[in-house]
């Protein structure tokens, strides 16, 4: 990850050109051309304990030129051409914009964004095999990332003038820095000891307003539910470059465990081809754990598990390769199912609004080794 932007751009262009050259060579030799893409379906996804995230297996699909694939074949090549042009001109397109680019392709145009998204995922999957991300291809996600505050200075560059811009995330008052769609070009300065990734905007605001990050010497990041790709990539880059531990602070329910935390740490099955760029294997689960409900006396601030919660929990125990690989998680989820309740982050307010700052987090942070993996 030490190579700079222009090196990645060169590799991106090389990749696209080599694929196009292969197609052309096949045509010149009188054969029907084909493009190989990794299979993106869940059956080709597994949890790699070594690296700590879900990754694509070896399965490939060959998109040869036939009736069923002619359209997608042409679209794939045209979208690659668009990607190459954007790299060359240092521009980008959101997924929605990429969909609209196709509108002057005549017969080849995408009818719905779902179509262009799928083709984009294919190209992304090919690129991922060569260590290139969607952002390298200059396709940016639609939704921006969450918010950041704390002991961090972000070094950005103005796209227009090339002038360097420094943003001190400790000097934004009660506001916060908004994670951009692409963080590849950012540089960081920080003396923080860890990153705290928070599920809800409300909790982030409380910690920010009371400048918790100053006391704990950390950076706080708001995820806003399941973290977007931009948020995941940002946390990943930041934690990689400064070797910062990442602690995850979410609700105590199956959604918090398997969707929010697991996605941040090990990635998702749907986008297994890009997990290698996005997931944060060093993330750890701070809370709220089922044991916390007992330890912090939250029993009367809980809600019963809904049928959806129970189903999700049982599913995770059976099918989630990440959970299954971690006995402590299996135990925690079983404990939650036994208790039959769920607790939100805000439940800590039972003991006073700032109980979380004064009591809960310091107590938890004092014993990092107790965090769930």
């Amino acid at each position: 990850m030490k190579e700079d932007g222009s090196e990645q751009d060169r590799r991106t262009i090389d990749l696209i050109e080599s694929i196009a050259s292969q197609v052309r060579a096949a045509i010149e030799s009188g054969a029907l051309p084909a493009i190989r893409t990794p299979t993106r379906s869940l059956e080709n996804v597994s949890y790699n304990k070594e690296v700590g995230y879900l990754e694509l297996g070896k399965k490939e699909q060959v998109r040869a030129l036939t009736v069923n694939t002619a359209r997608a074949f042409a679209q794939t090549l045209r979208l690659m051409a668009a990607s190459r042009a954007m790299v060359a001109s240092n521009d980008f397109a959101t997924k929605r914009e990429a969909y609209y680019i196709s509108k002057n392709w005549g017969d080849c145009r995408f009818d719905e964004q779902a179509e262009s998204d799928a083709i984009m995922d294919d190209i992304e999957a090919i690129a991922s095999l060569h260590g290139l991300s969607r952002e390298n291809l200059r396709f940016y996600p639609e939704s921006h990332g969450g918010s950041v505050a704390g002991r961090l200075v972000i070094v950005d560059k103005s796209a227009a003038t090339g002038e360097t811009i420094e943003i001190d995330c400790a000097r934004l008052g009660v506001g916060a820095y908004s994670i951009p769609r692409s963080a590849e070009h950012l540089a960081f300065r920080t003396d923080a000891r860890f990153i705290l990734a928070i599920e809800t905007g409300g909790m982030f605001q409380r910690l920010n307003n009371h400048r918790f990050w100053e006391r704990a010497q950390c950076i706080i990041v708001e995820m806003g539910g399941v973290p977007t790709r931009a948020t995941r990539r940002f946390i990943r880059l930041l934690s990689d470059r400064h070797e910062l531990p990442v602690y995850c602070f979410v609700d105590c329910d199956p959604y918090g465990f398997t969707n929010i935390y697991r996605t941040l740490k090990a990635g998702s099955g749907n986008a297994a081809h890009v997990n290698r760029f996005l997931c944060v294997p060093r993330a750890q689960f701070l809370g709220v754990t089922p044991q916390d409900i007992i330890d912090f006396g939250l029993e009367d601030a809980t809600h019963p598990l809904t049928p959806v919660d129970i189903k999700r929990a049982k599913d995770a125990l059976r099918n989630d390769p990440f959970i299954v690989a971690h006995p402590r998680w299996v135990a925690a989820i079983k404990q939650l199912l036994d208790m039959g309740v769920r607790a939100e982050q805000q439940a800590l307010a039972k003991w006073g609004l700032n109980y979380v700052i004064d009591e809960y987090l310091p107590r938890k942070l004092a014993e990092v080794s107790g965090f769930l993996p």
Binding site: A20, I27, L32, L65, R71, M80, A81, D107, C108
Partner: protein, 557 residues
């Protein structure tokens, strides 16, 4: 009460009013039975009767028929002339043939011919006489005669006798032949029931005939002859034992010339030799014997004999009395008059109903007017659409793609234009499951397809539903044979359609892929920075590869 009931009549008074009705008077009042009801139908019927007679006469005399039909009309009145190159008519017979109902040569023999009853042409004359008041005008010349005979004949309807108005010998350019002219109430309407359609159909079923049609409003058509051979003469046959009815049998016994029953059976029936005759007599039982005198056989014994005739194992009727149009000739006739993409024809083996031999012929012409046909180049595997010439000269004989198929019905080579719904041919088509052959068919209706189904029933005695000879009675034996013929043709049609569909499907697939080839070219050009010429070269290579691949696939399959 002003309307007083008439006083009851006495038997004597009633007897005074009872009198014989001549057959002419009967049909004058019931002219619809002979096909003369509306002016439009009357005109077609009149032409048809004259043409049928002309064709029968020519064929019987072994002359290749050349027929000229002229029709002129004003308002509801038409003038019709039909001229042939037949053998001509002996002058003494002309008046009776044209001026007497039920006079003819075909009623008493069992032989396949167009006319059956000897009623048609005189009925046309009678109808003209009734509606316009003019007699028939006939010119006829026998080969070798120096002059032709010219007669004006009307019918004395009270006595069913010809009434000759004028008789002359005149010079005539034709060496032999007959010309009939008549005036009658009639209009020439277009469409499937027009004189033109009738003549066209006649040309289809009779490719050995040439017809010149000079229609109203200066319209002239020429239906060229497609083959120079006359159909073989049908053999005349005797009744088959299985088909004879009791009344007819008694009549035959009474009029028998034979002196013994054995001789009678052998002489008067077809397919009966001495051995069979003995078997029949034995089956009939006592007191009948081989030597019984036919004319003296009593009613009860005639009944027994009739039952025996039905029961006896007699050979099937001999088919040599039937002359099919023939598959080759049928295709010839269809090809020259109905432009279509696919033709097929089937001639069924002879069968019989009630002892009358018959045979069925079926043909199908399938077209896609105005639609492109797909052409495949075998070597390169390339396909292209072949735009078929936009010719549509048979608008009423072949259905459009969204219409029910057209039925072209023929009996003894004569087109049947009316009463389609009550005809055995229609019933057979309806009872056939066309869906099994890939056609769309609404429940209980004709299939929907751009095609014409031709059915020809040839028989020594066609069971028409009426004297106007417009439809055939749906006897089970007939319907069964027609259906078998239809199925035979439908199977071949279904193969053709299957092939067509495969081609169409493949063409669409290729066209679909081809839409995307230029885009692949553009993308490669953009990525690799190719110039336009190189790009087009790549697209052309890709196109070749695609077709070669397809062609290989087809060869291997």
């Amino acid at each position: 009460m002003s309307d007083r009931q008439a006083a009851a009549a006495t038997a004597q008074e009633m007897a005074g009013r009872q009198k014989e009705i001549s057959v002419s008077e009967f049909f004058l009042k019931n002219r619809h039975l002979l096909g003369f009801d509306t002016p439009a139908k009357s005109l077609v019927t009149a032409v048809k009767e004259a043409v049928d007679n002309a064709l029968d006469a020519c064929e019987e005399a072994g002359v290749l028929p050349e027929i000229t039909v002229e029709v002129r009309g004003r308002f509801e009145r038409s003038w019709v002339a039909v001229e042939d190159n037949g053998p001509g008519i002996v002058e003494s017979q002309i008046a009776r043939i044209f001026g007497k109902l039920l006079y003819g040569s075909k009623f008493h023999k069992l032989s396949q011919s167009r006319g059956q009853q000897g009623m048609g042409i005189s009925a046309a004359g009678m109808y003209g006489q009734l509606t316009v008041g003019k007699p028939l005008h006939i010119i006829s010349r026998i080969e070798g005669e120096p002059l032709a005979s010219e007669l004006y004949v009307s019918i004395d309807t009270a006595n069913n006798r010809p009434d000759i108005h004028k008789r002359k010998r005149i010079a005539w350019s034709r060496p032999h032949g007959t010309r009939v002219e008549m005036e009658l109430e009639g209009v020439d309407q277009g469409g499937p029931h027009s004189v033109e359609a009738y003549l066209k159909l006649t040309a289809i079923a009779n490719p050995h005939v040439s017809i010149i049609y000079k229609g109203p409003r200066g319209k002239e058509l020429f239906f060229a002859r497609a083959c120079d051979e006359l159909p073989p003469r049908p053999k005349e046959i005797k009744p088959h034992p299985g088909g004879v009815e009791l009344g007819r049998l008694i009549q035959m016994l009474n009029g028998a010339k034979s002196r013994s029953l054995l001789q009678f059976l052998v002489d008067e029936f077809s397919c009966v030799g001495e051995k069979t005759a003995r078997e029949i007599i034995q089956l009939a039982g006592k007191p009948l014997s081989e030597r019984s005198y036919p004319a003296h056989i009593a009613h009860a014994q005639a009944n027994a004999l009739h039952r025996a005739l039905q029961k006896a194992r007699v050979q099937k009727p001999r088919p040599d009395c039937l002359v099919p149009i023939g598959e080759a000739q049928l295709l010839e006739g269809l090809r020259k008059e109905l432009p279509a993409e696919f033709y097929t024809a089937a001639t069924r083996p002879p069968a019989s109903y009630r002892g009358n031999p018959f045979l069925v012929e079926v043909a199908i012409a399938f077209a896609r007017p105005g639609e492109a046909e797909i052409d495949v180049d075998v070597a390169s595997g390339r396909m292209r659409k072949k735009q078929s010439a936009e010719s549509d000269p048979a608008p009423h004989l072949i259905a459009r793609r969204d219409e029910p198929v057209r039925l072209l019905r023929f009996a003894n080579r004569v087109p049947l234009l009316y009463q389609q719904s009550s005809c055995a041919i229609t019933k057979s088509v309806l009872q056939t499951n066309w869906r099994a052959y890939g056609l769309h068919q609404p429940k209980g209706a004709l299939p929907i397809a751009p095609m014409a189904i031709l059915v020809h029933v040839a028989s020594v005695w066609v069971p028409y539903t009426s004297e106007a000879k417009e439809a055939i009675e749906p006897y089970p034996e007939l319907v069964r044979e027609i259906k078998l013929g239809l199925q035979q043709c439908a199977r071949r049609l279904s193969h053709f359609l299957q092939r067509e569909r495969t081609l169409q499907h493949e063409y669409e697939q290729r066209a679909y892929i081809e839409t995307y080839l230029p885009h692949i070219g553009v993308a490669l050009q953009e990525i690799l920075g190719l110039d336009d010429g190189t790009r087009d070269g790549v697209v052309a290579r890709l196109d070749d590869a695609l077709h070669a691949n397809r062609a290989a696939k087809r060869r291997s399959s």
